[in-house]
Symmetry: C2
Subunit: 138 residues, 2 copies
């Protein structure tokens, strides 16, 4: 059994975040010492590692809640889990796509001004003011 600080050190999840996860129902309520401090065991550590891994991959708290529920029912179909992962993947792809459009546009805009002139002639400012200067939708 170890403290929340120890759990934090081992998982690299900050202490207030651990408490937040508990509040959100991602972590079952931890055992407490007589002095009301949380104590965790291996199961708690594994659960939090699972959560951290999922968060690192960008899954929402809500999605993780569903994943945990499935994990706790090993006999159930895992269709939902796969769906969640696939949908997360397409979310990520969508984000990449949009960011690439921004990248292209920002690159073009940044290149237009070396920062040595005055604001009046600045291509960055002109581009923002006038959408017509953009080469594609964004």
């Amino acid at each position: 059994m170890f403290s929340i600080g120890e759990l934090s050190r081992r998982t690299k999840v900050k202490v207030p975040t651990i408490r937040y996860y508990e509040e959100m129902g991602l972590l079952t309520e931890a055992e407490r010492t007589s002095g009301n401090q949380r104590r965790y065991d291996k199961a708690g550590l594994e659960r939090l590692s699972f959560i951290r891994h999922a968060r690192d991959l960008g899954f929402s708290i809500e999605a993780i809640l569903s994943l945990i529920e499935l994990q706790e029912h090993p006999d159930r179909s895992c269709e939902a889990a796969t769906n969640i992962a696939v949908s997360q993947l397409s979310d990520v792809r969508e984000k990449i796509k949009r960011l690439k459009v921004l990248e292209r546009e920002l690159k073009r805009i940044s290149k237009g001004c070396d920062g040595r002139g005055i604001s009046e002639d600045c291509y960055v400012l002109a581009s923002l003011a006038d959408h017509e200067l953009c080469c594609r939708e964004h």
Copy 2:
């Protein structure tokens, strides 16, 4: 002169968002009718278009505040504007980079399970539980 609703329609920025921008100091306080309703003119429309364009490119409110300040002083050096744009560009590139790592990992995980089995054997859930199954840092 036109109403906030009309401005909203023309810029595709929602009415509460326009009021929010005003509160944040992005928009100067609009003129009012005798009945206290906001009225805008061409200058207001251009300013909001500028803001929208910048937001679409992912600039923060704070960054936009700086950009607007520069825009209002046409005689000043535009170095800051270029810096803001360049820094935004590198932010975007950083995000893309991280998302690509996630994409790769999620793709691998998703492929590992077709969703037709049971939770116990699900590769998605197993991968989340065990970071060792990952092929690279993320």
